[in-house]
């Protein structure tokens, strides 16, 4: 037996496993002081472990543990109930909001919106605004004609209806034929003549004033040729 084999045997002995014959061990221990010391230390260790009593738990520890564990359990249950209540309220609010949306805001001609998986969906291009083709001129004129005709027809119908209503209520007096009609005149010549007279009458004060002011101006002007050139 060598030192390595001795250590393996020592571990087996401390493992409480059966060990083999002690003859070879005795021979090795007789020749190896280190292993001999180790062997004695192992025997002392076994002796000490036999006397080593496990620590006794203090009195009342079990009661304290159970009290604390039950208290924590109660607290955990209370927290879970609160969490469930909050979750239920939140779910109710969400359902109410969804129901309100579907009842009041959702367009009637659209079906229910089904969520689409977006994980593998390729990105969609940006939606382009739809270009409506411009109406042709003929179509525009036709539309305008129809609109005007419809408006005129409606106005005519209303007028005729009102007239018939008034006609049935009001009794119209009989028409009298005038005894003598005034002679016709030439409206164009008369109006031009009257316009010329009115214009000359209206401009006459202005013309007189302008004429008088111009005369005063000429009278007050000194002899500009001699006074304006003193050096001459």
């Amino acid at each position: 037996m060598n030192c390595l084999e001795f250590q393996e045997r020592l571990q087996s002995q401390l493992d409480r496993q059966p060990v083999g014959d002690g003859t070879s061990l005795e021979h090795h221990l007789a020749s190896c002081p280190d292993c001999r010391q180790l062997h004695q230390a192992a025997q002392r260790l076994e002796e000490g472990l036999r006397h080593l009593a496990p620590p006794c738990p203090p009195v009342g520890l079990a009661d304290r543990i159970v009290t604390r564990a039950l208290g924590e359990r109660q607290a955990r249950l209370r927290f879970r109930r609160r969490l469930l209540a909050v979750a239920a309220i939140a779910a109710s609010l969400l359902l109410t909001a969804l129901a309100g949306y579907y009842w009041f805001l959702r367009p009637t001609d659209q079906g229910p919106v089904t969520p689409e998986p977006i994980a593998n969906k390729p990105p969609e291009p940006e939606p382009q605004p739809k270009e409506t083709p411009a109406p042709s001129l003929r179509e525009s004129v036709a539309d305008a004609t129809d609109a005007v005709a419809g408006l005129a027809q409606r106005t005519t119908d209303e007028t005729v209806g009102s007239t018939w209503l008034l006609w049935s209520v009001v009794v119209a007096p009989p028409l009298k034929e005038p005894a003598e009609l005034p002679p016709p005149f030439d409206p164009t010549a008369r109006s031009l003549r009257e316009a010329g007279q009115g214009l000359s009458t209206g401009l006459e004060p202005l013309a007189n004033s302008a004429r008088r002011a111009f005369g005063l101006f000429l009278r007050d002007i000194p002899n500009m040729e001699t006074e304006g050139k003193p050096g001459l």
């Binding site: 000490g48 620590p55 543990i65 039950l70």
Partner: protein, 198 residues
């Protein structure tokens, strides 16, 4: 056993206070003992034990009823102790000298041996210490320890072997074995000589 545990867990899930009591009574000694060994502080161990059971009750629905309950529960305890140790390392460590001895009078030599073993355990890395305590003090099998710590069985064996060697080395270094006087002391089957007190 598994059916019994499953029934107990079902009662706990229904909120029966007596089932809570039964589950705590069944495992509190092991959980508290592990916490004491890993934390080296009784008050911390008590706090962590409470946290462990609160977490256990909180996550009982995630327990696989086809597996034993104890490794799952001890795994939670080890994880809580690790977290607690990480938090405690950021603040000054509180001294809490453990005096865990078997009932009945002990000789001074055995008491000193126990103190040295506990000191050696405190010097171990947390994962080594967990494996050592679970195996030697709580008598769990390699497979259960592996399930609790979520590690392969080979890793657990390696950690335990290294932990033992470190403890043995400390015992030898601290004079807990008789000095080597030659071949006369060699007797692998006999009890080693008692260390002479100074």
């Amino acid at each position: 056993m598994a059916a019994d545990e499953a029934a107990l867990v079902r009662r706990c899930l229904r909120g029966e206070a007596q089932a809570f009591h039964d589950l705590v009574d069944r495992f509190q000694a092991e959980v508290y003992g592990l916490c004491v060994r890993l934390l080296n502080h009784r008050h911390d161990a008590e706090d962590v034990t409470q946290e462990v059971f609160v977490r256990v009750f909180r996550s009982l629905r995630r327990w696989d009823s086809k597996r034993p309950l104890k490794p799952w529960l001890m795994g939670i305890a080890v994880n809580r102790c690790r977290t607690w140790l990480a938090q405690r390392n950021r603040r000054p460590e509180l001294s809490d000298y453990l005096q865990d001895t078997a009932p009945g009078p002990l000789s001074d030599d055995v008491a000193e041996l126990l103190r040295e073993i506990q000191a050696a355990l405190r010097e171990l890395r947390p994962e080594y210490r967990s494996v050592f305590v679970l195996f030697h003090e709580q008598g769990q099998a390699y497979e259960d320890i592996a399930a609790a710590l979520k590690c392969p069985v080979g890793t657990i064996k390696t950690w335990l072997h290294r932990a033992r060697l470190e403890v043995l080395e400390r015992l030898r270094r601290r004079g807990m074995v008789a000095p080597d006087f030659g071949l006369d002391n060699v007797n692998p089957t006999s009890k080693p000589p008692q260390r002479k007190r100074k």
